[in-house]
Symmetry: C2
Subunit: 285 residues, 2 copies
Amino acid sequence: MATGRTHRPATRSRGIPEATVARLPLYLRALTALSERSVPTVSSEELAAAAGVNSAKLRKDFSYLGSYGTRGVGYDVEYLVYQISRELGLTQDWPVVIVGIGNLGAALANYGGFASRGFRVAALIDADPAMAGKPVAGIPVQHTDQLETIIHDSGVSIGVIATPAGAAQQVCDRLVAAGVTSILNFAPTVLSVPDGVDVRKVDLSIELQILAFHEQRKNGEERDERADRDERPPRDTGQAVAATVAPAAEAAGPGANAAQGPVAGAVPGASPKGPDGDVPAVMPA
Amino acid sequence: MATGRTHRPATRSRGIPEATVARLPLYLRALTALSERSVPTVSSEELAAAAGVNSAKLRKDFSYLGSYGTRGVGYDVEYLVYQISRELGLTQDWPVVIVGIGNLGAALANYGGFASRGFRVAALIDADPAMAGKPVAGIPVQHTDQLETIIHDSGVSIGVIATPAGAAQQVCDRLVAAGVTSILNFAPTVLSVPDGVDVRKVDLSIELQILAFHEQRKNGEERDERADRDERPPRDTGQAVAATVAPAAEAAGPGANAAQGPVAGAVPGASPKGPDGDVPAVMPA
DNA sequence: TCCTGTGAACGAATTCACAGCA
DNA sequence: TGCTGTGAATTCGTTCACAGGA
């Protein structure tokens, strides 16, 4: 899911399911690797293994694109690479701007995978005047003031936001107003955008929290002390104790691939309950 | 202890759906923000809006955790923050190691959201001897040789891989062998791990490709060359003809020169890599 | 009355299993 | 004889709509 509001009516057009779209890049990568090794054809089984999915899913996915395989044989690697690239829109050039050239923005600018798939860093933008002119990854950083001009002149339609959370929405609004219709958001904020604009977010913190959830479960199997979780809250109605956290983050995973089975047999007594104190004490500084 | 105990009318026993788990961090962040503003309670409607989901979904999600709301009123913010934190395992400390301190690794090390949710960067590891000892984000980088020792001594169970694709699997194997059971992978490779180990991946390139797909469709709407998906491939029966179609690489690379950005998901054995390799990214500063 | 909690309807995604073609 | 392509079955996730407690 990506768009902020509006349920995506999308998916309709060609009718390729979102889940499938999210896997196409995966297949493409595996195919590209095969191509570089001059492998002429692959079976769904082999390709699936290389992409980390199962073959039935892969075949179903490809069936949405058309019938590009040969029964009894498999898929022609080069041809499939081309078809998927075209379907994803990678046969054209996509100028991209990155806003917020901090640690992350710089990492993104230097990311090699960028240029290798039709994406081109058209400009780097930062609000810090001191950054202006300084080259990052060979590209001079420009000041935020230039944002609209840059977008317009470069015909950019994809923007990457790597600013602090506090600035994200504002940057987003300006990008959208300037004509950007797809945004990749690295800031830990929910962005609201008008219809027609796609937003995808990537967030380390969320991924880690999901891992922690499963990790806890692995270890916590045997420990279970407290009672039921249903018990009524100690409720204190007090109010916001200062403490607590700073902005965190989240990310939407498209088809995040989990490695394996969740939960297994439903831990019985699970759910401990932290009756002890009451609220937060969570998070260290 | 018998698995029996689950006899509560409501309340599920365990088995919180993955989709729900993936949203808990979102709710947590929204709640934390409310908490900081000393808001005592929220309705599902308000909280849902803040988290960017719809209220029915949010209520359903919370129902898997238990009944933590009050009909006619809403949810107690502090209490819910605590419950979700606990459910996610954030009430405990999670030492984490980051392997691969390039642009991305450094960005991750500097990411504030790290420490703010129970995660603590226990160590930074890099294969480059020249990096050893250099502090990044205040933490001295250690050499890969120390990996096993570090993991063991710090009791790390979550590892972050931010190395070039070519090194990822090997690093992964070592992490797993040393006891890590959850991995967050930023390298554009499919990692294979034994059962019991969770892997989540974050991939910038994939996110951009998904955006490109939708972007392309927005522009191409009206021309709608229908039916083209059913049409039979122009492909001739012959196979593996050298270059009938444009391989992705060239279709893609405007600014990219073939020599440089191979991308591709790491073919075992090959490991190009420039300064930084291919690594997608994450996190704002 | 208002808002939560949840059964039930619905829809999307995955998996099964096999028909059909090279 | 393989291996693709795909309906059918199944599982998972979302949304609806309303019962029921504060």
